[in-house]
Each structure stands twice: as C-alpha cells, then as structure tokens.
C-alpha cells in the first residue's frame, strides 16, 4: 500500500515520451553553453499510467463521494465542460493570435462577462484573475487606484472577523491595514460596529455575503451606505455566491466590487487545488479601473483593447485561466434559466442537514442558514472529542470531512456545505453518519481519536513535517 516515488522507479534509458521524427540536421551548439540536463528518472509509458492511476485512487473527490467542504462549494463538475475545454480550437489556441483568427474565443469571453454581469447585477467584468485570491487583489488594487484618483491615500480597510483569511492578506498586499469588525451576537455585521470604525482614512470594507457562518448579512445595505457616506467602497467576497444567485442584486446591495469563484459557483473542477478563476465584477463607476486588455466589440468584430488610461494594469501573462472560463461558460449555457434553481436547492440541502443535526451538535447560531451551516464540537468536548476527531471519523463512514476550525469566530467549528448536487438520500446517509459519530463520542471516544481507521493512511505527523521540512526527494 505504498506507491513508490517517481525517482524510486525507472531505469536509465527508458522513455515514456514519443520523440518526434527529426527532419532537420543538428545545429551547432557551443559546448561551453550546454548543461547536463535535469536529473529526472527515466520511465516507460506503462509505469507512468500505473503510477498515476494508483495514486489517484488515494484521493477522495467529488466524483467518489460527498465532499461537504464548507466555503468551497464542492458541487458536481459536469463532464461536458471538460470536453468543451479540450476542443482543438480551444485547447490549441495561442493567446497572441491576431483577433481575426480567434473571434469565437473572444466572443465566448465577451458573452461570459455579460452573463456574470447579469447574475451579479454589476455591469462591468474582468475575467483575468486566476483565482479568488487574485480577484481580491484585483479589487484592492481598484480600491487603491480609485482613492488615489480621489486624491486621498486611505490606509485602512474594514474586515469582519468572519472573513476568509485571504481578505486581510489581499488587503495587506496593497498596503492597507486590516481593521477587524466583530460580528454581532446573531453572527452578522451590525451597522453601528461599522459606523464606529469607518472614517476618512478607511478605504472601505470587505464583506462576504452570505458570510462564512452561512448567514445572510441582512444589514448589508445599511453598512454599504455608511461606508459610501465616508467615501469608502464596498468589496464583496463572492465565494458564497452559490447561495444567492438570482436572489440578490449586488449592485442594489451597495457592492462596488465583487469576485466570483468559477470553481465554486460555476462548477469547474477544483483540480486538487486549482486552477480556478476569480473574475471580478464592478459598478459602472469603477469600470475604468479594470485590468487590461479588455475584450471589446467593434464594427470589425471582437478585439482586444488596452486603451483604458485608468486601468490598474495587468494581473496575468495573458487573459486569465481561459480553460476554466470555457467550463463556466458551458455550465451557464447548459443550465440557462435553470441557473436560478441552484441556490434554492443548495440552501434547502444545507438547512436539511442543519435540521438533521441540530439535536446532535452545537449550533452556535441557531437560525436558518443559507448554503452552509456551521456547527461546533462544544457538546463533544466534554468527552475530549474535537472537531478534528469528528472530521477524521467521517472518513471512515465514506465522506470527505467538512471544513473545520473555520470561521475563527466559532471555536471548534464544523462548516458543512453540501451543495445542490447532492441527493436527499446522500444527505440522509451523511446525517446518519454524523449522528452515529455523535453517539460514538459518548460511547467510544477513543475510536474517534484514532480515526480514520479505514483510510489509505492514518493521521499524519504534521509537526514533524513542519519542524524539519522535507519538500523534495
């Protein structure tokens, strides 16, 4: 049950690659300039295929089981999207093709921008950010540039204590100082708390709605008004957009800038950590700041334009993770009007879990949730069972664990997001497993502390890994 590392296999002289025919002579090469080439193992094609086939089986994945990782929206990834992204005219396209030779791809980007604008209610869109965190950075760069144009350098930014860790990190990268705003007793932002902190040195606020407790920030409009009144801007982290598509208008809500995670809401595969895509949608007022180049429609068709003097610049070598954009575009076209059915079903699934487990696990905020629900290990701590133990034990029941210990405002948090693509039967089995674990925590807590018992590996020594890092073999 151990898979050798690549360099523990192979033998010098094997080759898994088909070298193309040589149809030109050798060109002279100054030997002083040549290197030795990297110390790669030589393998045959069958060894490559087996290695990765076997390795892959050691992953849990959406394709194998429910993966209720909160705030990550691990929904089903339609196979048709991968087909589209692999079409030769898409996968084989060079990014610097003259626009007349890439009209279909430019049209796809143009239309996807329009779809995302319609879905969010924010009229201008860039598809360039390669991930949500780069979308956040884009937003912060826009904040920075906007305030610069207003002639005032603002140094602070408000960030609720429920925020994703990327929010403060992104703000810091743009030179802002993060000012934490505590959420109120019902888990959401209180306008007064924002008002107390918002001032003329503050660039604005970064808010996630619904927030990471799975609760809708009901005071968002009032919060936005407070921020705007002091000359600030409102950034919305759209990681949780799967809860509210068709239910909200981000513009009406007072949001100026929003990023979307295509790998969450728009079903593109998470790839073991990426690639994702983090388009950013902005109000009309902020459109001039979007990164370049932008797709524009002219009388001669679609083309690229850099002619946006107030642009923040460029974030990607080309136009972002186009292959991911293709998948999201396919997804939107596949669903069409059914897109508005996603959020109600995602929210229904989360509330169904909440209802099924609320008598078994502590619910720090016991009210209807949006697309995810956050429990804690408070009841189980009496038996010295932690959120980690519960998570690991779920593995033995065949489920991927939820997000744990986040959001930070809930000690011992278990953040469960089922998504709309899970069936009622699967949710029933998940609820039963979680109930069984709650019972085990009382009856046999040691079993939980030893979990997982049936995974490919038992618990791994993370302390040793960090103390003496071994990052290469």
């Amino acid at each position: 049950s151990a898979e050798p590392l690549l360099w523990e296999m192979g033998a010098r002289g094997r080759l898994a690659f088909s070298l193309p025919e040589r149809d030109v002579p050798e060109h002279p090469l100054d030997p002083a300039l040549a290197g030795e080439g990297p110390d790669f193992p030589d393998l045959s094609e069958p060894e490559i295929v087996r290695h990765y086939t076997r390795l892959s089986q050691w992953n849990m994945a959406v394709d194998t089981t429910m993966y209720p990782l909160g705030s990550c929206t691990m929904k089903y990834n339609p196979k048709t999207n991968d087909r589209q992204a692999a079409l030769p005219g898409i996968a084989g396209a060079h990014p610097l093709l003259p626009p007349p030779l890439s009209q279909g791809l430019l049209r796809l980007m143009f239309e996807l921008e329009q779809f995302l604008a319609a879905i969010t209610g924010l009229p201008a869109v860039t598809l360039q950010p390669a991930a949500g965190a780069q979308g956040e950075l884009t937003g912060m760069l826009i904040f920075h540039a906007y305030h610069g144009d207003q002639g005032r350098r603002r140094t602070k930014i408000l960030i609720p204590d429920t925020a994703h860790g990327t929010n403060p990190a992104s703000a810091t990268l743009c030179g802002f100082t993060a000012v934490a705003v505590p959420s109120g007793p019902d888990g959401i932002l209180e306008p007064e708390a924002v008002a107390r902190r918002m001032d003329a040195d503050t660039a604005g606020i970064m808010v996630t709605n619904p927030n990471t407790l799975g609760l809708f920030e009901s005071h968002i409009r009032e919060v936005a008004d407070i921020v705007h009144a002091k000359g600030g801007l409102v950034y919305a982290d759209g990681a949780n957009m799967n809860a509210v598509m068709g239910q909200v208008d981000m513009g009406a809500m007072g949001v100026d800038v929003l990023h979307l995670n295509l790998h969450k809401t728009f079903s593109t595969p998470h790839g073991g950590g990426g690639p994702g895509a983090g388009p950013v949608c902005v109000s009309a007022a902020l459109a001039p700041y979007l990164p370049v180049p932008r797709v524009v429609l002219t009388a001669d068709g679609f083309t690229w334009s850099d002619d946006f003097p107030r642009t923040i610049g460029r974030l990607h070598a080309f136009y972002g993770n186009f292959g991911i954009l293709v998948r999201a575009y396919s997804y939107i076209l596949s669903l069409g009007a059914d897109l508005t059915r996603i959020s109600p079903l995602a929210v229904l699934n989360a509330n169904y879990i909440r209802a099924g487990l609320r008598n078994h696990y502590h619910l720090p905020y016991d009210r209807p949730c949006m697309h995810e629900c956050v429990f804690s290990d408070k009841h189980q701590q009496a038996h010295k069972v932690t959120a980690l133990d519960i998570a690991k034990r779920l593995i033995d029941f065949g489920f991927h664990p939820p997000t744990i210990y986040f959001p930070l405002v809930v000690p011992g948090a278990l953040m469960i997001e089922p998504t709309e693509t899970e069936t009622k039967e699967t949710l029933d089995r998940f609820i039963a497993a979680m109930q069984a674990i709650a019972a085990e925590a009382v009856e046999d807590p040691e079993r939980l502390r030893q979990a997982p018992l049936h995974a490919h590996r038992r618990r791994l020594d993370e302390v040793q890994a960090a103390r003496k890092p071994c990052l290469t073999g």
């Binding site: 590392l5 690549l6 070298l19 040589r22 030109v24 060109h27 040549a34 030795e36 393998l43 086939t53 050691w58 992953n59 994945a61 394709d63 194998t64 990834n77 079409l87 996968a91 084989g92 396209a93 990014p95 610097l96 093709l97 890439s102 209610g121 390669a130 965190a133 780069q134 860790g165 403060p168 703000a171 810091t172 990268l173 030179g175 208008d249 998470h270 073991g272 950590g273 990426g274 690639p275 994702g276 990164p291 460029r314 990607h316 070598a317 080309f318 059914d338 897109l339 109600p344 079903l345 909440r354 209807p368 693509t421 009622k424 590996r457 020594d461 993370e462 890092p469 990052l471 290469t472």
Partner: protein, 444 residues
C-alpha cells in the same frame, strides 16, 4: 436538469423537515432592498448536444492545427502532449478533489505535488520548489516581493528583455507598495545590459529572464556575479520556456537565488493563454519567505510514509494579514500535468526533445540568414529568435496571414524601437516543410 437531482417529492419532504413552506421562504432573511429589480433572465438551457454544436462552432473560428503555420511563442509554446497525460489528468479523483486539507484521503494529490516539487527543483537547479502559483507573470511579481521581504530593501532592477506582459504584471503588483523599479536595457546582442547595476543603490533583487523575451540565452553567471557584487542582493531568474533547461544549464547552477517562470510548456495546453503554471523555486535558506503552498514528507501514526501540506503558518489561512502572500491555492492540476510530462520525458527524453527544438530553430535561422533575412541579435537562442524585415513589413505579414501563416509576433507594440522586428518560435511540432515555406514567403 441533469445536474440537479431534486424531485418534487424530495423538495416537499425536505421543506417539511426544514420547516419552510416553500423554497422562496428559505430566503426570507434577504431584505427587499437587496433583491433584483426584475428576475434574472437567462436563455433556456442548451441540451448537451446543442452545447456541443455551439462550442464546436466557436472553436472552429480559431486558427489552430493543420492548415495554419503559427510561429508564435512569446510565453506560450506549442509542444506535443502525450495522450497518457491528457487521459490520466481527466481522472475524476485527480480533477474533482480540492486542496488536500485532509491528508489521509488526499495522498494521491499530495504525492503527485511532492513529486512535482522535486522534479521542478531538479529542473531549475534549486533546493526547494513550491506547489506552484498562478502563472509565470505573477510568479515573477511574487519573487520580487519575496526578495523585498528578505532584504528589507525598496528597489528592484528588472531586465527590459523580460516578457513585457510580465513586467506589466510586476508593475501592477508593485504599484501600491511604493517600491522602486529600475529597468536594465538590452544590448545589441539581445541580452540584458548589466552595466546600469553599478549605479543601482542596494537593490533587493536583479531580475533577468533566460531564454529572454527575444529568445536569447542570458549570461546568467555574469548576472549572478553582478547581482552578488552586493552580497544581500538576490538574483531572480525568470523563464517562459523551461524546456530550455534540457539543453542549457539550470538557473540554479548558474547562481540564481530565486527561480520562477511559466511551466505551460511542460504538458499543458496553450488554451488561449491559461491556465498555466507558475513555477517557483528557491534555496532552503529562504524557504520560509517563499509564498505559496508546500507539500512535505512525513509519517503517519503507523510510521508509514505520507505527505501533508506544511509550513502553512506562512499562509493566509493562519497568518492572515501577515501571510507571505495572499495566494490561497496552487495550480494543482496543471502542476500534476507538468509532473506527468516531466516524468514521461525523463532525463533522457528532455535532453533529446530540447535539442530537437534547438536544432529546428537553428535550421530556420540558417535558412533565413541564407535567404538574406536579417537576424539582429547575436546571442545564442533556444527555440525563439527575432528576425528583422525590411521597412513596410506589415504588408508582408498581412499577406502571410492570408496564406494562413502567422509569421511570429510583431515587436513594435512592445518595443517601439523594434519596428519590422518579429519574434519567431519553432518547436518540435513544426515540420521542416513549414519552415521552408516560411523562408520562401518572407524572402520572396
């Protein structure tokens, strides 16, 4: 809708369990002033088959593959990708997993990334590599920010022969930080002129790219010497074409402190520019200042070898505003593809393939020169180089476009002084007949 499993009966039963009268009631918390003025209107969904036709039509408008000769590189390269890599990468267990937060059920991803880190470090001649960042351009920006963190200095020097888009991204990332940037010009041989460094005051980093944007192999050893004239200054070596290190020495071997660049060449489709792969490596001394995810080796409770995400305290989950960067994930599947590709080539294959790229470019250089076309830069190249056509070359370029030949990238938009200069790229996918055709066309 085939992705949505809920039957009406399911919904009714679940609403009852939840205690809601209908689906709309689930959204009672959303105030009226947050609601859309009118319902979201989208066209009817396309069937799988209608979608296929639609996408095939869009894709058919792109100039690719047989029928077109496209001599474009400039940061995106046409290399053959083995069918094995493409098929293995589609395995659902690899594609539909996420960040391996739970290592017990993520050893597939973790070992694959550990292997990627190792092969990357070996390719680049460095001690450690991260699990990848977004792309080559943001990797360079992150490398410069890392150098600033390490040195606590406020100035970076950047070669003007670095990919113009990369320099643009660096400028974008650095603008709010107030850091200073000086640009190093390129000389008549197409390589970076390091002389201005003599006047630079305590740079955090000197950044050069090799092969550079003109395809020229930089004298990295000289750059290292120049940078390290100030012992604190770090040499950041960037790249857009890592296959070159199958033939030329690695940046690490020549003295670079941080090596970063774009890994698209290593088994990743061009896909109109993304997703790519930001490769990033450094020396162990700087490990904790490196941005991005890391996978490390450890043991499980039974003492068996296993892999985990490690040094996460550098990252934003834990460190929040004090993180090394805001990067949250990596380009997991692209990194896996690159590892599959590097392993498929092996040491033997990468040498042979790199040499073939070199020889094809060399053949075209020779043939163009023999046909009287000027090649302005004298430095050695890998699979890209610049040709200079007589004034008024736009008409020639357009005529070739009509004949389905994209004769490289016009450089004037990036370097006004390089009117009539074109950056040509030739890889193993270009056959000799296409090279001969190009020579005949541009010299006729």
């Amino acid at each position: 809708m085939r992705f949505l499993p809920h039957t009406e009966a399911d919904i009714d039963a679940m609403l009852a369990a939840v205690g809601c009268k209908d689906l709309a009631a689930l959204f009672d918390d959303i105030p009226a002033d947050c609601r859309p003025a009118q319902p979201l209107h989208l066209p009817p969904g396309l069937s799988e088959w209608a979608l296929n036709r639609h996408m095939e039509n869009l894709a058919a408008e792109t100039a690719t593959g047989p029928g077109y000769d496209i001599f474009l590189g400039a940061g995106s390269y046409d290399h053959y990708i083995p069918e094995t890599v493409q098929q293995l990468l589609r395995r659902g267990e690899l594609a539909t997993a996420y960040t391996p937060y739970q290592p017990e059920v993520s050893q597939g991803t973790l070992q694959a990334i550990y292997e990627y880190q190792t092969l990357t470090a070996r390719l680049l001649g460095m001690e450690a590599a991260n699990a990848s960042v977004y792309d080559g351009a943001s990797a360079l920006a992150e490398a410069l920010l890392m150098a600033v963190r390490i040195t606590k200095r406020r100035l970076v020097a950047i070669s003007r022969a670095i990919h113009p888009h990369y320099r643009h991204v660096v400028a974008t990332y650095l603008r709010p930080t107030g850091l200073d940037i000086i640009e190093l010009p390129y000389g008549p041989d197409g390589r970076t002129d390091l002389n201005p460094l003599d006047d630079a005051r305590e740079p955090a980093a000197v950044a050069v790219q090799s092969p550079n944007f003109f395809g020229c192999i930089e004298d990295l050893a000289a750059a290292a010497e120049a940078a390290h004239g100030d012992p604190a200054t770090l040499l950041v070596a960037a790249f857009t074409e890592p296959l070159a290190f199958g033939l030329y020495p690695s940046p690490g071997a020549l003295g670079a402190d941080i090596v970063c660049g774009e890994g698209q060449s290593l088994g990743i489709a061009r896909s109109f520019g993304g997703p790519g792969l930001g490769m990033f490596a450094c020396r162990n001394a700087h490990l904790r200042a490196m941005p991005g995810r890391l996978v490390g080796k450890t043991v499980d409770a039974d003492g068996r070898r296993g892999f985990v995400l490690t040094l996460a305290t550098r990252e934003q989950h834990i460190r929040r505003e004090r993180a090394t960067s805001n990067i949250c994930t990596n380009q997991g599947l692209c990194a896996t593809a690159a590892a599959m590709y590097m392993a498929s080539l092996g040491g033997t294959g990468i040498r042979a393939l790199a040499r073939l790229n070199y020889d094809k470019a060399g053949y075209l250089q020779t043939a163009l020169r023999n046909a009287g076309v000027a090649l302005p830069f004298s430095a050695p190249v890998f699979n890209e180089f610049v040709m200079q056509l007589p004034p008024g070359s736009e008409a020639v370029y357009r005529r070739l476009l009509e004949r389905r030949i994209v004769a490289g990238l016009p450089l004037a938009p990036f370097y006004p002084e390089l009117a009539d200069h074109y950056l040509l790229c030739v890889t193993e996918t270009t056959d000799k007949a296409a090279l001969d055709r190009l020579v005949a066309e541009v010299s006729s």
